[in-house]
Assembly symmetry: C2
Homo-oligomer: 408 residues x 2
């Protein structure tokens, strides 16, 4: 067992997910069991809260409150988009030392893993015992090493249920429906739009991920072909679709606000959906075309978490506390898939997860680049847990008596 | 008991809801109990299916299939936006007569009620015994006479859960969030955005319904005031907000596709949200502004129906069959609220519901025109059933050691 006595500090970074609080509560409840842990602190607004020393004391938060928080989407400690510059990381280390923090847990994506890596190096240089664990979360599912990321399963479930409904709606009132899905570089979430399909003619009929270059002509031809076959068409397109040169389709339309990491702001506006809808109206000459941008609901909608995702997010939090406090280890918690379907957890070095992201494997996208494959369905289905009931009516046609003419 | 033997015909019209199939299944299962009902038919794509004589036979659909369909959002018989011209209504009557249909049920909004009224008159003129019942459904909750409409509670629950999540998200990463809600003329659905608020500073902080004229200046001043107070702001705005002259704010931005009823197409694009976001960026000089248009998910998302709404939708369907077949009556089924909270059903003449819609009572909107009142909360809360868990963390602040300065 790690013998170092001191405090625990937990922070949450980046975009919220439906289960990031499960990981947070997993860390807090597990950490509170160890006698060498004097207090359990939380940083308000992630590393910004550490820099500004805005901390809360979670040692005596009630278990009921923590369990209610665990079931609530979004980051209960609140989050930040602050860029972890070397100065910021140095300050984080200083604040940890000033408060006698010996165990630092940061729940976030690849940027957060990089923050952990730098803070860990600072502590080593200063010969200060500080265990640093990165706890993975992202709806994009784009972290390296791990089989999948906590947060993805719930966002995928939301997207699947949204497209199940959109498919029924589009069957009831035919036309073209385009749904824009989050995912800057990785198509995992857009691909999840297909997870609720049951019948061969169920939508989404076309799925466009950022892993495959997107062309206007191919898109319009695809929509025309589906529309001709089924008299309707449901499209799922990633916000990150781009042309062969890597230029975002969305950039052809938007001003392009950038965040502090230099990433262009894709979500929070309806530009891309409206552009694609216009292309279909003009290019395919179809009148009834609708576009929805699923937006922030994908990561924060209340009441749609995947049960599998909830449990795994809780467990990566618990394991994080155990790796640091029992085993005195640093690293990033990762998930290994075993069998079909079970998981094991392991720790991977921070530098293997930091900074870089993963794309979706090409084998998850069909040859034409406009749909997912059975391999993707097998990969993703266990992650979203059971879907709600969705059924079509079974009833035979009635023989026409009048000959079925149109109204005069 | 109505003694006329013959067939039952059921149709669904207008925009789908999460519970319109409950009403449909309520009619079918109840109608199949009566010996004078020879067959139960469904019209595919509403009155368009009747006109074209595209009918299905529901007499032997399995109860399991019907129950699964009842739990599924959107119109299982599929829907239509076909305008019920006098010619169309005459044709509907002719098809009913040709198939020996004696009981016609049409589930829809005020346009569907008007169709029922005209078909009923045609039958009387021709001295053909035809019972015609309108079964109410609309997410807008804008039908006359009835206390509320089946379909509203579930859409309201979706909107409430969306804003609960958006509020958590906006607390985690502060800025201005604008959510655009369906509802052309009635603010009921936009007002539902407030139903998940718990703490005094929970969003939505501003709620704009179409019942009150909207001005750009007042909107920007409102956002500035909230942002100054809380450092963040969540806004719910109806797609139907308009200026004092009645000109839609959305029209200042969009092409304005119109449907066959001459209504401008507001949903299915992100224009209004993007316009309001731009106004805040420019007028309030706030950088992080995001807008989502909740879109079709509001009416068709799978897995978010209100349990109260489901039961009531089923019951209006059952009652419809009873009014027609037991009691040989024509009319529109309506809901009366008794106590707090229970309901009774009654039949109201078709002409009291046909064509015209209802606005939301002014007492449900505050004096300033930018929020709902406790009267609205009391009206709407019973309709959405229980909401999912949503909690804030309870934890005291930690005393600063370093003085809480910023990073160098």
């Amino acid at each position: 067992m790690g013998k170092v006595e001191g405090k625990v500090l937990v922070a949450q970074g980046g975009g919220p997910t439906a289960v990031i609080n499960q990981s947070f509560v997993g860390i807090v409840l597990e950490a509170r069991k160890y006698p060498q842990v004097h207090r359990v602190y939380g940083a308000v607004h992630g590393i910004q809260g550490i820099v500004e020393e805005t901390l809360v004391d979670l040692t005596e938060s009630t278990t009921h409150n923590l369990e209610q928080v665990a079931a609530t989407p979004s980051s209960a400690l609140r989050s930040t988009r602050m860029k972890p510059t070397p100065e910021v990381c140095h300050r984080i280390f200083e604040v940890c030392r000033a408060h006698d923090v010996r165990y630092f847990f940061y729940i976030g994506g690849n940027d957060s893993a990089d923050t952990c890596r730098i803070v860990n190096e600072e502590a080593k240089k200063a010969d200060y015992e500080l265990r640093v664990i990165h706890v993975p979360k992202t709806i994009d599912n784009d972290l390296r090493v791990t089989d999948h990321c906590p947060g993805y399963g719930s966002a995928a479930k939301f997207v699947a249920q949204a497209f199940m409904g959109a498919n029924h709606d589009n069957r009831a009132l035919p036309g073209v429906y385009i749904g824009i899905v989050m995912g800057r570089h990785a198509g995992f979430l857009t691909a999840a739009s297909a997870l609720g399909r049951m019948y061969p003619d169920d939508g989404p009929h076309l799925v466009y991920c950022p892993e495959v270059p997107f062309t206007k002509k191919k898109f319009i031809d695809d929509v025309k072909a589906v529309y001709k076959k089924y008299g309707r068409c449901v499209v799922a397109a990633s916000e990150g679709i781009h042309d062969a040169k890597g230029i975002l389709i969305a950039e052809q339309f938007m001003g392009g606000e950038k965040d502090s990491h230099g990433n262009i702001q894709l979500s929070g506006n309806g530009g891309l959906g409206d552009l694609l809808a216009q292309w279909v109206r003009d290019g395919a000459e179809i009148k009834r075309v609708r576009a929805d941008t699923l937006g922030y609901l994908q990561r924060s909608f209340v009441g749609c978490a995947s049960s599998v995702d909830q449990h795994e997010a809780r467990e990566v939090g618990e394991k994080a506390a155990q790796y640091a406090i029992w085993h005195a280890q640093d690293g990033s918690v990762a998930i290994r898939r075993v069998g079909d379907y079970a998981v094991e957890y392991f720790l991977t070095p921070l530098e293997t997860v930091a900074r870089h992201t993963a794309e979706m494997p090409r084998k998850f996208i069909n040859k034409d680049g406009n749909d997912v494959t059975p391999a993707f369905m097998q990969y993703a289905r266990p992650l979203i847990g059971p879907l709600p009931i969705s059924a079509r009516l079974g009833a035979p046609a009635v023989k026409k008596v009048l000959g079925g003419g149109k109204a005069k």
